[in-house]
């Protein structure tokens, strides 16, 4: 572009800038219109889908799981907001949010027993009991979806894997690797002793005792109760550390 000196040059430059701006605005507008069109087509397609398969989604947990997997691959989050198309047309929003609320209630009620860690299987059983009146089956995958949504609220709701089992954490305590390994060892009998930990994981006595003490105490930042319970009166004189979340004691009194 020739830069002419003087007022004429400035005016020409301003005019050129204006032209570019208008062009940019029209391109943007075209893109916006395209998006609007796409959205309308997408919405009508989703409406068709909903009309035919709304009941399937409600009644069939496998289908639901498949649906979520595909959504995740594509990059959309059907549970992101209650105002989205997914929640509106398929009606799954309410189902998961209600599930979330029930999970929070169960976890809070069980916290005095297990300190904030609960077995996923346990959770599903308790949910089933609580939801006896609702006719829709709830699978583990549904629980996982609901819990992954609860994560954003900052109170530490998360699913952690310990060995083969999955545990749901409902306190913001960070469990480091040592704790996880102890929990894995505890899976066999529901309890561990210091010697067992030392033997199986080849740790020093100090390290094992430290980790067990931390799990026992209420010093882990947010939980008032510890995750482990100690039994000092055992016949062989050793201290047994029990983990209610791992063991299959499922006689909690539901709220």
């Amino acid at each position: 572009m020739n830069r002419r000196p003087g007022i004429g040059g400035l005016q020409a430059a301003a005019a050129a800038r204006d032209q570019y701006r208008l062009l940019g605005a029209s391109v943007a507008k075209r893109r916006t219109d395209l998006m609007k069109e796409q959205l309308v087509t997408f919405r009508s397609q989703l409406e068709d889908f909903a009309r035919k398969h709304r009941n399937d989604i409600r009644k069939n947990p496998t289908f639901r799981a498949q649906f979520h997997e595909m959504c995740a691959k594509v990059g959309v989050d059907p549970l992101a907001s209650n105002k989205g198309f997914w929640a509106e047309l398929l009606g799954i929003g309410d189902f998961y949010y209600e599930l979330g609320v029930q999970i929070v209630e169960i976890c809070l009620a069980a916290r005095p027993h297990n300190g904030g860690l609960i077995n996923l299987q346990e959770l599903c059983n308790l949910l089933g009991q609580k939801r006896k009146t609702a006719r829709e089956a709830v699978s583990e995958d549904d629980c996982l979806q609901a819990i992954s949504k609860l994560k954003v609220l900052g109170s530490g709701f998360e699913v952690i894997s310990v060995g083969k089992k999955k545990l749901v954490r409902s306190v913001p305590t960070e469990l480091n690797k040592d704790h996880n390994e102890i929990l894995e060892v505890a899976q066999g009998q529901g309890y561990v002793t210091v010697e067992e930990v030392q033997r199986r994981l080849s740790w020093s006595a100090g390290r094992a005792t430290d980790a067990l003490e931390t799990l026992l105490e209420a010093s882990s930042c947010q939980s008032i109760e510890g995750l482990a319970m100690i039994d000092e009166g055992h016949r062989d004189g050793k201290c047994h550390y029990w983990f209610p979340c791992i063991s299959s004691i499922s006689s909690y009194v539901g709220s």
Binding site: K52, V74, V76, L79, S81, D94, V104, S155, E217
Partner: protein, 480 residues
């Protein structure tokens, strides 16, 4: 006092009004969109619509049984030409409920048109002019004959035009308006008290339903069989449809990503004329992304989707009572459960809640979101001060009992009247400020007053007999 938009003073704007208003022919006048300066001139504008009450956070106060049905943004309300002294209402949010049409302006003044005053809703004119202009909805309402103010028992009628300048769907709104108007929810209130006996009879009659006879084991087996068959067949279709749907969704996501880049890049033009449009289209984009299921970012300019803005105001109102009960601070997860339980249906997602809380920074509400180091997020009153709580903890920890055996989280919770988890947060904060010291022992996790500040570095073994150190010594000795 002057117009907040163009900063013309009231006196000047009066002159402007006169010069434009009376010098132009009546016919032409209706085609001009007046500078909304004129709304500020008190002599010229009469309150021709009844005022609506707003809560402290800018949400309308609903009457008993009133339910919100729809919401439009960027709405003007214009009166009939017959009443030239009535000023139009410009650029507000219109909320349709079962009982009223509530208009809320940006400056937090609100008016309502009760649906009982509406006598007719006109179907939209399909003309060439209508295609290019902003969509208009015209309704006929009853007014009092003297001054044209809205009056349910008025004898004359007037046509009000609702101009939808925002980019939302007026057709759907019109449908909902018809429904709400035909529903006549405001009349059932009066009817209920008089016809309670007749409704009892009606319900008992409808209670006796005939059921198709599917009895016995054969019936159950047949039902099971049918269920399995239908599930199997429909699943095949379902998976196919699902695949097709997901392909489409993939395209949407790619387009949305481009939009989002544009959204996050911020305003690029320096011209003042396009700012309005840009902000409008950014708002639109936020709403679209929300519908498809892609998280819409809350940027500096835009405040997220319109849905979240309304939700955040609703939440600010709702949260006042639980906050009182919990002593000034409540964790986000607790409020999520309480709010959703209160809603019953149309629950909100956790992300909705988080977005709504983050919008509070932009609007003027008395609550705020606070994040602790441990990751716990709480809602607390803005007027809530840490200093006050720390002062109370200080007083608590200097009592003779506490000097001897310290305080635990549950002690603090009982003394301060807040939840134990919150009490623990406060004790930890006090510790990080140097007020308390922790003591971890087999007896548990307790806090004591911090005496290290009192120990002189030159002579660390000196036992002072004044100050907090002295008080501590005397308290401990007294227990022996």
């Amino acid at each position: 006092m002057g117009c907040t938009w163009c900063e013309i003073s009231q006196l000047e704007s009066l002159e402007l009004y006169f010069s434009i208003h009376y010098n132009i022919d009546r016919q032409l006048r209706s085609n001009f969109t007046f500078h909304h300066c004129f709304d500020q001139i008190p002599q010229m504008s009469t309150r021709w619509l009844p005022a609506a009450q707003l809560t402290a956070s800018g949400r309308p106060v609903f009457i008993l049984g009133e339910v919100e049905s729809s919401l439009l943004s960027g709405v003007d309300i214009e009166p009939d030409d017959q009443y030239p002294n009535l000023s139009p209402l410009k650029s507000g949010i219109l909320i349709l409920t079962t009982h009223r049409l509530i208009w809320i302006s940006d400056s937090s003044s609100a008016f309502a048109i009760p649906l009982s005053a509406v006598t007719h809703i006109f179907s939209p004119k399909k003309s060439i002019k209508a295609m290019f202009a902003s969509p208009r909805i015209r309704i006929q309402v009853l007014v009092s004959p003297q001054n044209g103010c809205l009056d349910e028992k008025g004898s004359k009628s007037m046509v009000i035009t609702i101009v939808v300048r925002g980019k939302t769907d007026p057709e759907a709104f019109l449908g909902k308006l018809w429904e709400a108007w035909r529903g006549r929810a405001w009349e059932t209130l009066k009817e209920e008290s008089s016809s309670s006996t007749s409704t009892d009879e009606g319900s008992s009659r409808s209670g006796i339903r005939t059921r198709s006879a599917v009895v016995g084991v054969a019936g159950i087996l047949r039902k099971e069989q049918e269920m399995w068959e239908s599930t199997d067949k429909s699943l095949q279709d379902a998976f196919q449809d699902l695949n097709a749907l997901m392909d489409k969704a993939k395209e949407m996501v790619m387009l949305a990503e481009k939009m989002r880049q544009k959204l996050l890049s911020g305003p690029s033009t320096q011209g003042t004329g396009t700012n309005d449009e840009e902000i409008g289209s950014k708002q639109e984009m936020q709403d679209w992304m929300l519908s498809v299921g892609i998280a819409s970012p809350v940027t500096k300019e835009s405040a997220g989707a319109l849905y979240h803005q309304q939700l955040s105001r609703q939440l600010a109102d709702f949260v006042k009572i639980p906050l009182e009960k919990a002593g000034g601070m409540i964790s986000l997860i607790d409020i999520y459960c309480v709010f959703n339980r209160a809603r019953g249906t149309e629950l909100i997602s956790p992300e909705d809640l988080l977005q709504a809380c983050s919008i509070w920074e932009k609007i003027d509400v008395p609550v705020m979101l606070r994040k602790f180091d441990s990751g716990v997020m709480v809602i607390q009153n803005k007027s809530y001060s840490d200093e006050e709580v720390l002062a109370r903890i200080n007083a608590l920890v200097l009592k003779p009992d506490s000097l001897r055996s310290g305080i635990s989280a549950s002690d603090a919770a009982m003394a301060l009247g807040i939840a134990p988890a919150m009490a623990k947060e406060h004790l930890l904060t006090a510790e990080s400020k140097g007020l308390l010291c922790r003591d971890i022992s087999p007896d548990g996790f307790r806090f004591y007053v911090n005496l290290f500040g009192e120990i002189l570095t030159e002579d660390i073994y000196l036992v002072k007999d004044y100050g907090t150190y002295g008080t501590w010594i005397s308290a401990v000795l007294a227990s022996r």
